[in-house]
Structures are given as C-alpha cells and as structure tokens.
Symmetry: C2
Subunit: 199 residues, 2 copies
C-alpha cells in the first residue's frame, strides 16, 4: 500500500469494511470522495453521523424512524386495525412500494432460528401482544419470509395469536406474477397447486 | 421511497451518487451504517472529511500527498535522477506495488485527448520541464497508458524532451506475463513481434 497518503489509506480501510465492497472498489470510492466537491464530502459525512444519531426504532412497531413514533404509525389515515407482521424494516419498504397496503406494521427485527440460537425472546413479540390485547386490532397479517426461518416464525405467531379474538391471515405464496411455470421450483409449484383457489 | 426515515433517505441518496453504487447497494450500505458501531460511523465520517481537507498534490511530482512534498519525493534513498512519468496517482500506486522501481515520479494528472478538448496546457508538463531543466535528471521513463490517449501523450512527451540531455525511455509493451498467446489481441501480439528482443 505504498504510494497512498495516510488519510487516503484510512478512508480506503473504512470503505472496505462495508458489505460487498472489496479493496479495489474501496480505492475507487476513496478517489471519488477525493475528487468530489467539498460540499458532497461534507453532506456525506453529516448524513452518516445523522443516521447513527437520529434513526431509532419506532416505539410502536419497531420500524426505523427519525421520530419516537414512525410516520406510518402516526398516520391517522392508515387503517390502525390491521397489523402486518414482518421480519425487518426492509420488508416494510417492500410492502410500502406496492402501494396496496393501507394498514400498519409490526417489525419483529428478526426471525426464529433455533439453529442460530435465536428464540422468541430475541424477537419483538411483547409489543405485538400488547397491541393485540389493546382490543383495537381486527386482523394480523403474517408476512414473514417464505424460507425455513420465516415459516417457523409464522407457525410460532399462529400459536401465539390463535386464541385472540382477531382474524389471523398469512400472505399468499405461489408462482410469482409474470413467472414461467417451467422455471418455478418444485416447492413453489407444489404449494401453488395445494393452495389453489376457485377460478 | 415511503417507509424510510428522512435521514436514511439522505444517506442513501449520497451513497447512490458514488460510482458503481446503484440504489439497491446504496440502501444496503446505509443499513450497514445504521447497524454499525457508532465508532465506525464516526471514523468513516472523519476519514471522508480528512481526505478532503488533508490530501493535496505533491508540489514536486503532483502525486497525492498529506504533506507539501510527497513521501516518495522526500525519500532521499530513492533515485532522484530517474523520473517515471505517469498519467494518474493510481499509476504511481500500481508501479509502487511492483516494488521494482526506485526512482521518483511525475504525475501528469491526465492525458492528451484532442477529442475531449484536453491539450498540453491541461497537463502538469511545466513542472516536469522545470525538473528536467534543473540538470539533475538523467533519465525520464514514459509510462503513460497503452491506449490511444496514452500513446498521443507519450509522443508529445518525446517531442517535448528529445532535445534535452537526458535518456528518454518508454516502458515495454507486449504479451502480459503468464498470458496465453492464443488469447492475446492482434495489436498486442503484433507489437510484441515488432519489438522482439535478442533471446
């Protein structure tokens, strides 16, 4: 690493710690910062510090938020009777992008993974139970991932909530829209058959 | 982009301005920052600002440096009689990595590119001429890129320096070490034949 000034070396080292950023990319990014407008570097540095200092988890749903209660939970035009349970804040983003959901969320911040030693206590379940106990909630939609951990988490949620006086649903799984049947994996295809609906 | 807190959006926007970083990657990096240790975010922000405030061009060779004169120019154990002329500070790094060059450098900070309107005045040629005029220099090695712009720049340098009382050389071009002949492009192969040396 001869030839680089010390401050470039430090920046390259920091960049290279980020996921998917190898040493070559880190060098390129550091050069980009070096050549960039001073304003850009300042904004970038501030944005990094701000994310760490301002972003927290919503005290209601655990979604990411700049404020005590996130914009979705605070939005009175959203249907507060329906809670969609997801694993991560990213899942919230994905569902929001569809534009077809008007209820609120509950982010578990993880999934059950017995093999990794992650049990119910590691998920944000207490808050969900409290919200359901409040009595306002009419439906809980389970939207955990469709992989093993997600399925285990979904089963646990069903066990946890089935006695409550609420409608408990699960998002549909099957053939993705626009996909060719011939390329669908067997598990997806057999589930799509199994969960067929009246045409 | 609903669902993201404002400070995350700002950081994603800043990341997405970097080369080779698309929106998805920018999201991933912003999440990484969000989840990272506060110390890491602080170091990263500081490293970015430091690069902008500290790194400048060496007043002798235009290489990147934290100091007025870069570590290579200031190193008295290096052969100050031989100057290797390169296009960018990255080229200095590449040559330094070989560990087989003990002279000093001159970074042009660009190459001649008539099509892009980049002429001799846009390159750091004055400093090179002054160094050669000083009389200490015995050899100038031209190590511009092997593409069109690099070749034009090399030809210009030859024209500029051929009357000076110095040895003027050009780094060899030919088949890369370890490469298969059958995969070499025609231009490289014909040049390798043309510039053959006694075995």
């Amino acid at each position: 690493m001869k030839g680089f000034p010390q401050s470039m070396l430090s920046l390259i080292t920091e960049f290279a710690k980020m996921p998917g950023i190898g040493h070559k990319t880190a060098e390129r990014l550091a050069f980009f910062i070096l050549k960039s407008h001073p304003e850009y570097a300042k904004n970038m540095a501030e944005a990094i510090l701000k994310v760490k200092s301002q972003v927290r988890f919503c005290s209601v749903c655990n979604n990411l938020s700049d404020t005590e209660v996130c914009a979705i939970c605070a939005n009175t035009r959203r249907n507060q009777d329906v809670i969609c349970v997801v694993e991560t804040p990213n899942d919230v983003i994905s569902i929001e992008k569809t534009g077809s959901y008007t209820g609120v969320y509950h982010v578990l911040l993880g999934n059950l993974s017995p093999l990794d030693g992650i049990g119910p206590k590691d998920l944000k379940l207490e808050g969900l139970l409290n919200r359901v106990r409040d009595g306002h909630v009419k439906e809980v939609i389970i939207a955990t991932d469709s992989n093993t951990e997600g399925e285990i988490t979904a089963l646990y949620l069903v066990k946890l909530l089935k006695d409550k006086a609420i409608k408990l649903t699960r998002i549909a799984s099957g053939i993705p829209v626009g996909a060719h049947l011939e390329y669908a994996d067997q598990a997806t295809l057999s589930r799509a058959l199994e969960r067929r609906i009246p045409a």
